[in-house]
């Protein structure tokens, strides 16, 4: 992508396009990776609601895999996950292990 020159940028750095966070992939910031354990998932969709970015994908209205392009590894989904019978459906694992 060609970077814009100073004459082309919007006054005051105002972003005039909705949903432009889609273009900003932040997955490389992650130190801990959330891992989804499907058999413990009760489809409560808490992770989808709580995720501050757009790292939880859905398919046919159901929880699907993580989108690691946008997951910074904040761990909120793992914290909020109620799991099944005390077994978490999301656990955090250190990257590179």
């Amino acid at each position: 992508m060609k970077l814009k020159g100073w004459k082309e940028v919007t006054p005051g750095a105002v972003v005039t396009e909705a949903g432009s966070a889609l273009k900003f992939k932040t997955g490389s910031w992650r130190a801990f990776r959330p891992v989804w354990i499907e058999e413990n998932c009760i489809q409560c969709m808490f992770c989808w609601i709580y995720c501050p970015d757009m790292a939880i994908k859905t398919k046919d209205g159901k929880r699907a895999e993580f989108d690691y392009d946008y997951c910074k590894g904040c761990g909120i989904c793992a914290l909020e996950c109620p799991g099944k019978k005390g077994q978490k459906a999301i656990v955090m694992e250190e990257e590179g292990k």
Binding site: W6, P11, A13, V14, V15
Partner: protein
């Protein structure tokens, strides 16, 4: 018909703000500004303006609320002094960086410590590089006129930057002077209707303010902001021309007094210029050809025009009502020196620091400086390039 009244500087500026009738005002009381915003709050409370007053817990919050209201789409004002401006400092850069045309009268007051409530220019000078336009005013009339013109300058489509209009604390803010008010309609028509470029409240066209801009783009935004500053000079002159049509009062980038045929000159800001003009008249009668230049537009500073206006002088004394600790000279001196730097034949320059914390600037002080200027012009020698005057040894 314009109305002639006897009012304080604060009262006059509050009246200007009433006539403009902005959408939002977020302010916090601080001496010597308090009385201005108190009067304006009364206007709001008594239905004289449709302005929404936001009562905040500090000046940091006041300026933050102004930023939000301005981004949302409103015409926004506040006012402050001294510590209040210091507390706003962080948010001043955000207002200018987001290109929000907020208008803020600044009633100049010294900074603590030691604690002091009286007039000097340390507050405004401390905020001189924050991207705001600064207009300075000698008296109540200029403070009133500058407050009205500030809206047209700030909101001009080539500019869209915040403006602070400076007036001396107590000396102007609390002194009663003869002031000419314009008609409400004349002011209303002069400032016109305000339309935000990218209002947050326009749900048909969603926008985001304040994104993170990393090294790949930060310089481009700064460069664009620097470019806007270069356009202010012309807009200030154009707005002044329009203002003259409705008021009969002439404004420019600066005011000169008996400067054209002068050999020596004083450069000084705000209320002390009036005292200096009297002293110049007195010394002209004694054969000293002295003149004065009083900057009005201090940011962006009109270097070229000021340099042209001063280059013919033999000697100039720049009087600063603020010191810039650790810099060699006062803040106004440094601008004047820069203005003259590109000229081959430069006047001799020296700097006096006066009137800090409301210390009186008397005709005697101006006369001492003018006599010294005459001596320097004659001998070409300066004893001290920078010193405090009106101070006990």
């Amino acid at each position: 018909m314009p109305k002639i009244v006897a009012v304080t500087g604060n009262e006059a500026v509050a009246e200007a703000l009433r006539q403009v009738n902005p959408d939002v005002c977020a302010a916090y009381p601080i001496t010597p500004q308090t009385d201005m915003m108190q009067r304006f709050a009364s206007f709001a409370n008594n239905g004289k303006v449709k302005t929404e007053m936001i009562l905040v817990e500090s000046e940091h919050s006041a300026m933050s609320a102004c930023v939000g209201a301005s981004a949302a789409g409103g015409r926004v004002i506040t006012a402050t002094s001294s510590q209040g401006l210091a507390l706003m400092w962080e948010v001043l850069f955000i207002a200018s960086g987001l290109r929000l045309p907020i208008v803020m009268p600044l009633v100049n007051r010294a900074l603590s410590a030691p604690l002091n409530i009286h007039g000097d220019h340390s507050d405004g000078m401390g905020a001189r590089d924050c991207g705001w336009i600064q207009l300075w005013s000698e008296n109540g009339q200029e403070a009133y006129d500058n407050a009205i013109q500030a809206f047209r300058i700030a909101e001009h489509m080539d500019i869209r930057l915040p403006v602070m209009t400076c007036l001396d604390g107590f000396i102007i803010s609390h002194s009663i002077e003869r002031i000419e008010y314009l008609d409400d309609d004349a002011v209303k028509n002069f400032v016109g209707e305000y339309k935000q470029l990218n209002p947050l409240l326009n749900i048909d066209k969603p926008v985001s303010y304040g994104p993170l801009i990393l090294p790949d783009y930060y310089m481009e935004y700064r460069r664009a902001q620097a470019e806007v500053m270069t356009k202010v000079n012309k807009v200030v002159r154009d707005v002044a021309k329009d203002f003259e049509k409705i008021s009969g009062r002439k404004y420019g980038l600066f005011e000169t007094y008996r400067l054209d045929d002068a050999e020596v000159g004083i450069v000084i800001l705000n209320s002390a210029a009036g005292t200096t003009k009297d002293a110049i008249d007195a010394l002209r009668d004694k054969g000293i050809k002295a003149g004065l230049l009083k900057p009005r537009l201090f940011r962006p500073f009109p270097y070229e025009e000021v340099g042209e206006a001063l280059k013919h002088l033999k000697a100039i004394c720049v009087l600063d009502r603020a010191d810039a600790f650790g810099a060699s000279y006062g803040p106004l001196f440094m601008e004047i020196a820069t203005s003259l730097y590109s000229h081959k034949d430069k006047p001799i320059l020296f700097n006096k620091i006066y009137g800090l914390g409301g210390r009186d600037y008397l005709p005697d002080h101006a006369e001492l400086v003018l006599n010294e200027l005459a001596e320097v012009a004659k001998t070409g020698k300066v004893k001290t390039f920078k010193e405090y005057i009106g101070v006990r040894e």
